[in-house]
């Protein structure tokens, strides 16, 4: 640095940009214009101006307004088509919208409609009907299967935004919402997160209609209700509440609708946002709604009397209500023999305990309760720590944080190097840390087992909360040993017991012990799954006959 400049004032050259925070919300903004419904005008010029201003056609390059003339009954009417480029099928618009409307033929050049009636005297009487342009276009010029008449712009715009095209004709105060969707979308693919070895290999996609069709196909029953609810004042994201009307509890469905219809938000983009908005408790961080990409899992839930919420633009569905044991269950369980499935369920429960308690217990034992370990093992632990300069809690936190970094790094990196990063991080970093006497080898084992156990938790959100709570148990174990672990564990269990998911106790059917009917944590063979879970209060408790394998009895005679 120049000495001269040191004493001289130099103005800051750093570029700063701040947006002034709004101090108060004006009354006019509170009653947003978006919420005011505007009816379609009769004058096409007015309609055109309104559409152009609403869609900012001077700025937006993908908004297409195609003006043309319609000939009907030998009269010409001005009209325009409104659609979003890239979201519609051009061929459909050309062949089945513009062509019938623009090409002059005998039917639209004739100046009166004639209907023929045959009276009892076998004399045909020809009547000329009054001309109605709206009905005429709808009945004669629209060779489309899905055309709706909209009276106000907001409804029309919702259709256009989802890939339809709007037809507005001079002199009539309604618009036609024509289904010509043709945007590119992802094909149905294999599940990327919830993989199973045996079982369906289909996952939800971003398009809500594809997802609802998958549910329809799986359920294959007319009692499946798929109710559409739009969420978000600006985004008007289409959500679908799916349930079996003869199984799901009416109160549950009413509550779900109540929550979905009472969301005062501007935009809804993901299922994660909706999950936060509708779940009962957001303080503890424990997930209370299952988010899944598997249609078969949703169908299973629907058939138990639960409800599923699909969100347009998101390949994840939300299952309500969800209880603790659902987060430890996998779709694989129903595809396996009960012996194997229950073994896996037991393993997952153990994984849950290890994830949350192992590091804390390790620290409690090494700091306070050394007598619990056999002398030889205790010596080997202390011998391995002999050259480590840090206190054990620092050592543990260092390794846990490194593990979390490796996991996050692997997740965010491109898939090609993601797995390599994990191996490099785990092997080389761990080995180097031990060689450099930063951590003890025993601790590496503890952290590795904890990490592996956390991967065994089938639900990502549930596993995440365990990873966070683990740090609290590390602190408690370090501060007061088993006393801290014991107090923490009881508080944790009490927190779980205090939670509710859409009115259902989170720890059901274990506490409260609802009923012996239905499935608890360990699943019986499929032929013995005769009842639906009582905690869901389904309309039909019996899921199958007492003797489901009738073929066994039929051979007795």
């Amino acid at each position: 640095m120049n000495i001269k400049n040191f004493f001289q004032y130099t103005p800051s050259t750093k570029y700063t940009f701040n947006i002034q925070e709004t101090q108060s919300v004006s009354e006019t903004e509170k009653l947003s214009k978006d919420e005011v419904k505007q009816s379609i005008y009769k004058s096409i010029d007015q309609n055109l101006k309104y559409v152009e201003s609403k869609y900012n056609t001077l700025i937006n390059s993908d908004i297409i307004i195609r003006t043309f003339s319609i000939v009907a009954k030998n009269k010409e009417f001005k009209a325009f088509l409104l659609y979003i480029d890239g979201m519609v099928d051009s061929d459909l618009i050309n062949n089945y919208v513009l062509k019938p409307l623009m090409i002059k033929n005998k039917s639209n050049t004739f100046d009166g409609t004639i209907t023929e009636e045959e009276n009892p005297n076998k004399i045909t009487v020809k009547k000329v009907q009054n001309f109605n342009l709206k009905d005429y276009i709808y009945d004669n010029l629209m060779p489309q299967n899905n055309v709706k008449q909209k009276a106000d712009f907001s409804e029309l715009f919702t259709g256009i935004n989802s890939g339809n095209c709007g037809l507005i004709v001079d002199t009539i105060d309604i618009a036609f919402d024509i289904d010509v969707k043709g945007f590119k979308q992802r094909n149905i693919d294999k599940p990327s997160i919830e993989n199973v070895i045996k079982g369906p290999q289909e996952a939800f996609v971003e398009n809500i209609r594809t997802n609802t069709s998958m549910l329809r196909r799986f359920v294959n029953n007319e009692n499946l209700i798929i109710e559409s609810i739009s969420v978000g004042k600006l985004s008007k994201t289409q959500c679908a509440l799916c349930y079996m009307q003869n199984l799901a509890n009416d109160v549950l469905i009413a509550e779900a609708k109540f929550r979905l219809n009472n969301l005062s938000i501007d935009t809804l983009i993901s299922s994660g946002q909706l999950e936060q908005l509708i779940q009962d408790d957001n303080v503890t961080g424990i997930p209370q709604i299952i988010s899944t990409e598997r249609p078969d899992k949703c169908v299973k839930a629907i058939m138990q009397g639960r409800a599923v919420i699909l969100i347009n633009g998101n390949p994840y569905a939300l299952i309500i209500p969800s209880v603790l044991i659902d987060f430890l269950s996998s779709s694989e369980d129903s595809n396996l023999k009960p012996l194997f499935a229950n073994f896996l369920r037991g393993l997952r429960f153990l994984a849950m305990l290890i994830t949350i308690l192992l590091p804390g217990t390790y620290i409690a034992i090494t700091c306070f309760h050394q007598e619990l370990l056999p002398t030889d093992l205790l010596f080997s632990i202390f011998a391995s720590r002999e050259n480590v300069p840090f206190p054990i809690v620092f050592e543990l936190l260092l390794m846990e944080t490194s593990f979390e970094l490796i996991r996050e790094g692997g997740l965010r990196s491109p898939s090609a190097i993601g797995s390599t990063l994990g191996i490099v991080g785990a092997l080389i970093l761990g080995d180097a840390a031990v060689a450099a006497n930063i951590v003890s080898p025993f601790l590496i084992i503890i952290v590795a087992i904890t990490g592996l156990a956390s991967f065994a938790i089938p639900n990502f959100s549930f596993g995440f909360h365990l990873r966070i709570y683990r740090f609290a148990f590390i602190a408690l174990g370090y501060l007061c040993g088993f006393l801290g672990i014991g107090l923490g564990l009881f508080i944790y269990i009490a927190i779980l017991c205090s939670l509710k998911s859409f009115g259902v106790s989170y720890t059901a059917p274990i506490a409260p012990d609802t009923s012996n009917l239905g499935i608890k944590y360990f699943i019986p063979p499929f032929w013995k799954q005769e009842y639906r879970n009582a905690y869901l209060a389904p309309k039909k408790e019996i899921a199958q006959n007492k003797i489901s394998m009738k073929w066994k009895n039929s051979g007795k005679d």
């Binding site: 619990l372 006393l483 801290g484 009881f490 508080i491 009490a494 017991c497 506490a511």
Partner: protein
């Protein structure tokens, strides 16, 4: 308020009795009756079951009501308030005595240089959090924890079986028949959970099952009592028990499962801590509910922390007043409070039944 189901109700009463037994009464029984402890345990168990049946028969006229509602029916709001305060004192003092004993054990075993105040504070904060959770979280959590707690007691019995000295049971009637059968009846305080029965009907989802719930819970508690007393009596000579702070813990120290699990006492203590925090949350919640009913308020949250402060102060009383730091005195306070509250509860029920009968006959 959310109601509890039958199994949760049973687990609440059993948890109350078990914790009293492990931390205090098993030692008192063995001190009082020596080798006659087993017979004394059987005797008090039978008396407890009989008393439970009497309570249930008196409650037949007051289905779904608790002792506070009944005392209001009998003597108006004044009697309700008096009874409420007496029961609060009972549950508050019994909790603080047991907490003080557990913390003293922990201090000797694991935290010799830590001030007892911090350990008490940890328990108080934990109970405060649990009380704040609401939704009967404590009763559900207790229902989950109790099987684990009972399992450790059974494991302690099985694990120690090879070390049992069966001669400790002789002479079978203990120091004297008088000690075992007459004065030994005072050991009935081990079933402190009986006093909880006075408040149970109003908490139940199905109050008609009150009889079954009460009898089952007392029977289970009796079995637990027998397991604990047997384990201690067969492990140590009765004369050795008196000087110990936590004899059941001492018994667990002798358990060995193979060469790997040579000292399981800290694992046992972990379960006991969890079980005791469950006990504390049950009694604290009950006290808060009683107080809520007395002052007729719908929200108990504002009174949680003042009550925790009260529990904290009561627990530390023996630290402040050294005269109270005596096993015999604490044991006598416990017995006195138990019998006063129990007798009051019974009297209220009997008089209320008379009143109701008279009203019905006059109609």
């Amino acid at each position: 308020m959310e109601k509890i189901n039958n199994k949760e109700a049973i687990s609440l009463v059993v948890a109350l009795c078990t914790n009293v037994t492990i931390l205090l009464s098993s030692q008192v029984i063995i001190n009082d009756c020596s080798s006659g402890s087993l017979i004394n345990s059987c005797l008090i168990s039978l008396i407890a079951i009989a008393l439970t049946l009497v309570i249930c028969s008196l409650y037949r006229k007051f289905i779904g009501l608790n002792i506070l509602d009944i005392s209001e029916y009998l003597g108006g709001k004044t009697l309700k308030t008096i009874i409420g305060i007496i029961f609060i004192i009972y549950f508050l003092f019994t909790s603080s005595i047991l907490l003080y004993r557990l913390i003293n054990c922990l201090k000797i075993i694991y935290y010799p240089i830590t001030n007892i105040v911090y350990t008490v504070l940890l328990f108080i904060i934990a109970v405060g959090i649990i009380c704040n959770l609401g939704n009967n979280a404590f009763s559900k959590a207790n229902y989950i924890i109790l099987p684990l707690s009972l399992l450790t007691i059974i494991l302690a019995f099985i694990g120690n079986a090879e070390n049992f000295d069966y001669e400790n049971v002789f002479p079978i009637f203990g120091n004297s028949i008088n000690h075992t059968f007459i004065t030994g009846i005072s050991n009935l305080f081990t079933f402190g959970g009986i006093n909880y029965l006075f408040f149970l009907p109003s908490k139940l989802k199905n109050p008609n099952k009150f009889l079954r719930i009460s009898v089952l819970s007392i029977v289970i508690s009796s079995i637990v009592l027998l397991f604990i007393v047997t384990t201690i009596l067969f492990m140590f000579n009765a004369n050795l028990v008196e000087g110990q702070l936590f004899p059941f813990y001492s018994a667990v120290r002798y358990i060995e499962f193979g060469t790997f699990f040579q000292r399981l006492d800290s694992a046992f203590l972990l379960i006991r801590i969890i079980s005791f925090i469950s006990f504390l949350s049950i009694t604290s919640n009950l006290c808060l509910n009683i107080f809520k009913e007395i002052i007729n308020t719908s929200d108990e949250k504002p009174i949680i922390y003042p009550f925790m402060l009260l529990l904290f102060s009561c627990t530390l009383l023996p630290e402040t007043i050294k005269a109270l730091d005596s096993f015999h005195l604490q044991n006598n306070i416990f017995k006195f409070l138990f019998f006063i509250t129990f007798a009051l509860g019974m009297l209220i029920l009997i008089f209320a039944k008379f009143k109701k009968n008279r009203k019905e006959s006059s109609l």
